[in-house]
């Protein structure tokens, strides 16, 4: 059964349409969100919220055949909000802030915190981090990423390349400081 048919059934009040869509998309949505927030419990929580939000706002979806990208964009926005909130809480891990402060001690502390790839990814600009995570960990194509983030496919590609370059620089920085 197509997404469109399930959405229409759901809009008519058939709860099974919603449940079948949830079975179909809970895994890809969960892994997409998890690739962004990089935490199991948070990803579970955000995925649930995304489905609840989709359920309560289904009447706003004008093109039922676009359900998948609509649902994913809800999940991505919730994940972004969450990351933004976390970034403001964990300022120490935020490379931008350490850089802006121009405080060598803080920069050194941030570098020390780069124990693994996860912490290095968190130091990238948000867009680069999103594109790398969605492409490498969630397995989306650049075209899908562009669609989700509202950017061109070419822009998604260039963000990927800039992000990989930044990761290489961070790796070199870590080697130098060790």
């Amino acid at each position: 059964m197509e997404d469109r048919d399930l959405v229409q059934a759901w809009k008519r009040g058939d709860r099974e349409g919603f449940e079948l869509l949830m079975v179909r998309y809970q895994k890809p949505l969960y892994y997409l969100v998890r690739s962004m927030v990089m935490n199991r419990e948070e990803a579970e929580d955000i995925t649930q919220q995304a489905f609840i939000r989709a359920f309560t706002r289904i009447n706003r979806l004008r093109k039922p055949e676009r359900f998948r990208s609509w649902l994913f964009s809800i999940g991505v926005n919730l994940a972004r909000d969450h990351i933004r909130q976390r970034r403001s809480q964990v300022a120490l891990e935020d490379w931008d802030q350490a850089d802006r402060s121009a405080d060598p001690e803080r920069i050194a502390m941030a570098r020390d915190g780069m124990r693994n790839m996860k912490s290095m990814l968190r130091l990238l600009p948000p867009r680069q981090q999103e594109v790398i995570s969605m492409r490498l960990f969630a397995g989306l194509t650049f075209a899908e990423i562009g669609d989700l983030l509202g950017i061109r496919e070419g822009s998604a590609r260039s963000n990927f390349h800039f992000g990989i370059r930044a990761l290489r620089d961070l790796l070199k920085g870590r080697e130098c400081s060790e």
């Binding site: 709860r15 919603f18 449940e19 949830m22 079975v23 809970q26 895994k27 969960y30 892994y31 998890r34 690739s35 990089m38 948070e42 579970e44 929580d45 955000i46 995925t47 649930q48 919220q49 489905f51 609840i52 359920f55 309560t56 909000d81 969450h82 909130q85 693994n116 790839m117 996860k118 290095m120 990814l121 492409r135 490498l136 960990f137 990927f160 390349h161 990989i164 370059r165 990761l167 290489r168 790796l171 070199k172």
Partner: protein
């Protein structure tokens, strides 16, 4: 072509397949054979990204998915449950009481308020008038000429500030302030 530009070209062509599955073009393979620095960098990146991908894509048990669906269905079935789920989420401020409280605050702001009764004061109660009376009582009209003479003597210096009553200039003809 210099060595640096070879490295640039190598990284420019770096795609997800190369990072995750070591699928490289012939030119990239050739470059790696000659450039130990790029080889080491690529190995570092691959190691970190593959490790993180494995962690983020770790398969969840069946009851994880079932539990998630059950919680979402329970939440959307009853408004009370929806509130409970939102309360344990990252957006805990979206509680069930938020909407009524917001509505009450809006009403308090928007509802027309009764106009205050008009203020009617007796002449002796008007602060400005009583203040003026006290002020004029300090000055003996016979001394006004003296005041003016003193003020006039200081006037050529237009820039100076008057810091006492001697500086108060009054036109003798019509009594206006100069």
């Amino acid at each position: 072509m210099s060595r640096e530009s070879d490295c640039d070209a190598f990284w420019q062509a770096m795609g997800p397949d190369a990072l995750l599955h070591s699928i490289l073009s012939a030119a990239q393979e050739h470059h790696l054979e000659q450039c130990p620095r790029c080889r080491a960098e690529l190995e570092h990146l691959q190691l970190g990204l593959r490790g993180l991908r494995e962690e983020l894509r770790a398969e969840e048990p069946a009851d994880f998915w079932h539990g998630m669906r059950s919680r979402v269905v329970a939440a959307v079935s009853r408004p009370g449950r929806l509130a409970m789920l939102f309360n344990r989420s990252v957006h805990s401020w979206r509680s069930w009481w938020a909407a009524p409280v917001m509505a009450a605050m809006l009403l308090a702001i928007l509802l027309p308020k009764p106009a205050p009764p008009p203020l009617v004061l007796a002449e002796e109660e008007i602060p400005l008038l009583t203040g003026m009376e006290q002020l004029t009582a300090l000055f003996d009209p016979a001394e006004w000429d003296t005041t003016l003479v003193q003020a006039d003597s200081g006037w050529p210096d237009n820039g100076h500030l008057m810091d006492d009553w001697d500086g108060l200039l009054v036109d003798l003809e019509d009594g206006t302030l100069l």
